[in-house]
Structure formats: C-alpha cells, structure tokens
C-alpha cells in the first residue's frame, strides 16, 4: 500500500498532466459505451424515456438468438463482406498492376484512381440508385436501347439483383483503397528476387504467383483489415439505395439495427444487436491481423 502511495506521490505531476486527457476519454468514449451496454439489458424505448430503468436482464439477447430476421441480416452481412472484399481485392490488385506498368502519366492515373473515395457514401448511394432505377435508370435505358434486354431489370427490387447492385456500389467506391495499398507494395517491391526467379525458370505468371504475391500479401491484409471494419458496419450506401428493402430483402446488420432503434424506437434491443454485431467486426479484425502478422514474419530480408 505504501509502495502504491509512493508511486502516486512520485508521479503526481505526470498524473496531473494527463488527467484532462483521461477525463475527456472517460466522458466521450467510456460513458456512452457503458450507457449503451447498460441499455442493452433494459427495455429502453426512445419514445418512453422512463423505460430506461426497466431492467430486463438478458431478455434482449435471448430474443435476438431466436430472431430469424436478425440472423438472416447477419448472414447477409457476412456474405456481403466476403463478396465485396474479395472482388475489391481482385480489382484493386489488377488496377495496381496495370497502373504500375504505366510509365507516362502515372501520377495522374493515381489521382484519378482515388476519385471514388472522395465522394460521400451517401452521394455514391444516390448515384447508383438512379443509375440502376428500373424506369429512369441509365443502365436499364442503355441495355434496352442497345437491344440487349427488352424488359427493365429490377436492379433494386429483385433479391439477388439488389444484392449485386449494392455490392457494385460498395466495390466501385472502395476498390481504390486496395489499389493504393497494393500499389504502395509494388513500389516498395525489390527487383532482385524477381530477376532471380526469372533466371530460376519462372514464367511471368510464376514470378507473380511465387514472388510478387507473397510480397504483396501484408499490404493486402492491411487493406482487408481496414475494409472488413468498414463493410461490417455498412449502412449509408445500402440505406440510400434500398433502405434494406424491399421487404427486408437487402437488410444488413446495421440497417436492421438502425430500423430497430429509430423506426421501432426499441433502443435497448438495437443496442443488444449492435453488441452482437461487433463480435463480427472483432472476429474479422483479429483474423486478418493474424494473417498480416504471419505474412510479415518472413519479409524481414526484403
């Protein structure tokens, strides 16, 4: 005990100096977190503030376990994440490899490549909502004018077309994150192992497969980590394009949570869903981070 006191006394000045920062963090981060965690055990409804004190234990969580809609949204989010991340990775890789080959005007290309990231996701949502609209949409009009289709494709209505459209928007917006990070990897890539591999008998494809790709993996995993956090909480693009509908056909976790919280005003229930959803983010972050560490381990000598 006396040792603890001594530590306090000796470090009084540093403690005093960082205390404002600690205080701010407590107020801004920890309190809301604790509050939302608490509400997930209550029957809190936004329109009836007094229900905040209505402690119902694990009931919210038990309900979620048996809530088919929630688990469908959960599964759809995982599917969405898998599709979006893999395609973004493939397109980003392709884009980076192409841009890396350009010798003239590469800077300009790199800047252009960043454009989709500069738009607000809400605007991207609107843009694709109108592109894919079945009566006035540019895509349907173009397809029909060219005689490729005769009837409008229900891009935002059909279950799978809507999934495709949303994924398309998401991928359009964020492929450049992969492209930029992979391009950074390509710039940092040493030339020697590539030449050694060529001499060792590799075709261009084999050089890519055995030398370039392993070198790029850490960069890809960094992008994956960032993007998995992003996509697991996808909300704005989806909400603008389909609002999770029609009839819940494109409901993802966070559109469902938002609806529960604000349309149904069931804040306690929504917070419980959010805590379950966060497990997903934590899992993906942990998974990609572990992959990243594995891939980086051997690159010490590059």
């Amino acid at each position: 005990m006396s040792r603890f006191r001594r530590t306090i006394r000796e470090n009084a000045v540093p403690f005093a100096l960082i205390s404002p920062a600690i205080l701010v963090i407590l107020i801004v981060v920890l309190l809301p977190l604790l509050f939302s965690f608490y509400t997930s055990f209550s029957n809190y409804k936004l329109i009836r503030p007094d229900t905040l004190w209505d402690w119902i234990g694990l009931r919210n969580y038990e309900r979620i376990m048996g809530d088919w809609d929630f688990w469908v949204a959960f599964g759809r989010t995982v599917l969405f994440l898998t599709v979006a991340l893999n395609l973004e990775m493939l397109f980003g890789l392709g884009l980076a490899l192409l841009v890396n080959k350009i010798t003239y005007g590469q800077r300009t290309m790199r800047t252009i490549m960043m454009f989709p990231m500069m738009f607000s996701p809400i605007l991207v949502g609107f843009q694709f909502k109108y592109l894919f609209n079945d009566t006035i949409g540019l895509v349907n009009n173009a397809l029909q004018a060219l005689g490729i289709t005769h009837e409008a494709i229900p891009f935002l209505v059909d279950r799978w077309w809507a999934f495709f459209s949303i994924a398309f928007a998401e991928i359009w917006m964020s492929t450049s994150i992969f492209a930029i990070l992979i391009l950074a990897g390509l710039f940092a890539m040493p030339k020697d192992p590539v030449e050694a591999a060529k001499v060792d008998g590799c075709s261009n494809w084999q050089v890519f497969r055995h030398i370039t790709l392993p070198f790029l993996m850490p960069f890809i995993y960094i992008a994956m980590t960032i993007r998995s956090l992003d996509v697991a909480r996808a909300y704005d693009v989806v909400d603008v394009m389909t609002g999770g509908g029609p009839a819940g056909r494109t409901e993802l976790l966070w559109t469902l949570i938002a609806r529960t919280a604000y349309d149904d005003a069931r804040m306690g229930r929504a917070n419980a869903m959010a805590y379950v959803s966060i497990l997903l983010s934590i899992f993906f972050t942990w998974y990609f981070f572990r992959k990243l560490m594995d891939a980086r381990k051997h690159l010490g000598a590059f």
């Binding site: 020697d192 192992p193 050694a196 060529k198 060792d200 590799c202 070198f215 051997h298 690159l299 000598a301």
Partner: protein
C-alpha cells in the same frame, strides 16, 4: 556443353549507348572474368547474357542457339546476384529447391539435390532458416547453392563477393575455384577486384567505358598489357608509368634522367617519339635486396621518400621523371627517408606505350 558467344553486342538506354559492340567467345567449361572500373558495363553485359536486359544490337549465342529473343528461363543459366537476391519468404531449403520445383522435378529428386548442394557449401545446419536469419556470408553461400542445384549450362556471377569482409572473401574465392573444378561448367564472373580476376580466371576480359580493352590469360594481361589502362588496372601495386621521349635508345624523362629502351623495343622506335615507360614495382629492387634472378639489369640511384614495411618485404616510395613510383625490397632492412639506394631494374620486363594513343609499342 555450352559455349557462349557475343558478336558485336550493343546496349543502348534510349540515346545513351553504354556497351559499344563487344565481341567475346567463351569456350565450354571456361572460367571467364569480366573486370573493369565501376560503370564500364560489366553488369550490363552479364545481364544481357542472362536475358535480363534486351540486346540493342548484335547477337548472343549459348551453345549453338542464338538467344537474343529468349527469356531468361529458356536459357538454362544460373545467376548469383551482387546482393544475393534470396527469396525472403522461403526457407533456405525452399530457396535452394525453388528452380527445381518450378521445373516440376520429383520431390525426392529435389530433396536430394538440395541436400547435396547444402553439403558442398556447408549449409546443412541452416536449411530450415529463412534468409533474414542468416549472416552475409551464409546468404552468399545460399545464393551460390541456388545456382548450383540445377546444373545449368552457364553460371553468371555478378560481384558475388563484394559484400563480404576480406577474410571471408578469400575463403569464398577458394570455394568458387573448387566449385568450378567440381561442377565443370562455363562461368562468366564479374568483378572490379583485379585480385579476384587474377586468381579465378582462365581468361580475363578487361573492360573500359563499354569497350573490351584486352582479353587474355591472367599471365598475358599481367605481362603484356595492351595499353596503359590495363597496365595500371591489373597488378598491385599498379604499374609505374613515366612519360618521356626517346633519344638514342634511351627514354629521357622530364627531370633529365633516363632509362635504356627495353631490349624488346630496341631499334623499333624512332628518335623523338613521346612514350610512356612502364614497369612494375616487382622488377625494381635495391641491390642486395633482390630475388636471385638473372637478366638484363640496369642500375639506377633513387632517393627513397618513404618505406612501407609489409613484413617479408617493403614497398619503397620514390620519384623518377617527376612521377611517384614504387619499388620492392626483399629481406627488408629499415630505410630512412631521404636515403639514396642503388636499385636494379629488370629491363626485359619493362614496357613502352605510345604517349598519345596509350597503346603498347610491342610489335
């Protein structure tokens, strides 16, 4: 069987020509060393043989096949790079076996070939490590091992020892020489270290500014350099070169002193011609400190500026014809600065070069 033949090979980077049409015939199993100062085009030449650089003009053949348009993988060559270029994400074993794996050889064959190579190079204990866990010398040996597992037609080495300390370099030099007698393959070896060139080569190719200046065995280039550049480049210390003009079978220097025209050249050179008189430190020795050798000797008195004792011999620094020159003293005794010693010059081992063209005047 693989001869390597370069015919009028040119390399241009845009408008800049860095290799100006070189011709070189390398015999099967020959150990050829390309040597020259930095930037003279050695690496570029080697990389053109490897197929890592395009050839702007001319023809390269390996065996009886013109390889101008062949990618590196179709040339059956191995290359050791200056900074090793190991695959960092693979273990030593995988590094060594990589080319065999790409060639789709059976796993047992690969294991055996890798174990053999590791045995030759003393890498057996290191097989499961990654390159990051190796010292420079060990990485160098892995790079070498990666080259030898595949029994290529030609080995290409680009300054493989330049990153090693002096002791390790000497040791590896011996290893490479042994390796060559063991695996019997054509080797093209690039270095800027003339000692490496002398000790390893069957033939030395001396390059300068993208041209080949001289091709010959180590003894030939040492004893009969074609110009002052080769004379100064090969041998340590570099050859003494003193400018003067010929007068009545003597070369007269700017300080009025003179030396007789060496016997090989007497009667061939017109009076008044500007020449460079060249001889190595090894053929100028103080009387009483020579190696017992006979020949055409010429005595000359020299004022010693400084002596550098090396133990079994000393290098004497002195001046002649306004030039700093070096002499060698066997069984050395202490020499004080300013002391005048009578030295013997082995005239038949001296050279004359044209002062303007720098070419040797030997017929």
């Amino acid at each position: 069987m693989a001869e390597v033949s370069l015919k009028n090979v040119v390399k241009r980077y845009g408008a800049l020509e860095v290799v100006h049409g070189i011709d070189l015939e390398i015999a099967h199993n020959e150990f050829v060393v390309l040597v020259g100062p930095s930037g003279c085009g050695k690496s570029t030449t080697l990389r053109m043989i490897a197929g890592l650089e395009d050839i702007s003009d001319g023809e390269i053949a390996i065996g009886d096949k013109v390889v101008n348009m062949l990618p590196p993988r179709k040339r059956n060559i191995s290359m050791v790079f200056q900074n090793y270029a190991l695959y960092p994400h693979m273990s030593v074993r995988e590094n060594l076996g990589f080319s065999l794996k790409i060639a789709k050889r059976a796993p047992e064959d690969i294991t055996k070939a890798v174990d053999d190579a590791a045995d030759i190079l003393g890498l057996t204990e290191l097989l499961e490590r990654t390159p990051a866990e190796l010292s420079g010398g060990q990485r160098q040996r892995v790079a070498m091992g990666r080259a030898i597992v595949r029994h290529p037609d030609v080995f290409l080495f680009d300054e493989p020892l330049s990153n090693l300390d002096a002791k390790l370099r000497t040791q590896m030099r011996v290893e490479i020489k042994k390796l060559h007698s063991k695996v019997k393959t054509t080797i093209v070896y690039v270095t800027h270290d003339q000692i490496e060139a002398m000790t390893l080569a069957d033939r030395i190719v001396i390059m300068k500014d993208g041209h080949i200046v001289q091709i010959g065995t180590p003894l030939e280039v040492f004893e009969r350099p074609v110009d002052t550049f080769v004379a100064g480049f090969i041998g340590s210390p570099p050859m003494n070169l003193i400018e003067g003009s010929v007068k009545d079978d003597h070369v007269v220097f700017s300080d009025g002193r003179s030396l007789p025209v060496p016997p090989d050249f007497t009667g061939k050179i017109a009076n008044g011609r500007r020449v460079v008189f060249g001889f190595r430190a090894d053929v100028l020795m103080p009387k009483g400190h020579t190696l017992a050798e006979s020949g055409v000797l010429h005595d000359i008195d020299l004022t010693i500026d400084m002596a550098e004792p090396l133990g079994s011999e000393s290098i004497l620094l002195t001046t002649l014809g306004g030039q700093d020159i070096q002499a060698r003293m066997h069984n050395p005794r202490p020499v004080t600065s300013g002391e005048v010693l009578t030295c013997e010059l082995h005239l038949e081992k001296c050279h004359l070069f044209d002062a303007d063209t720098t070419q040797s005047l030997r017929g």
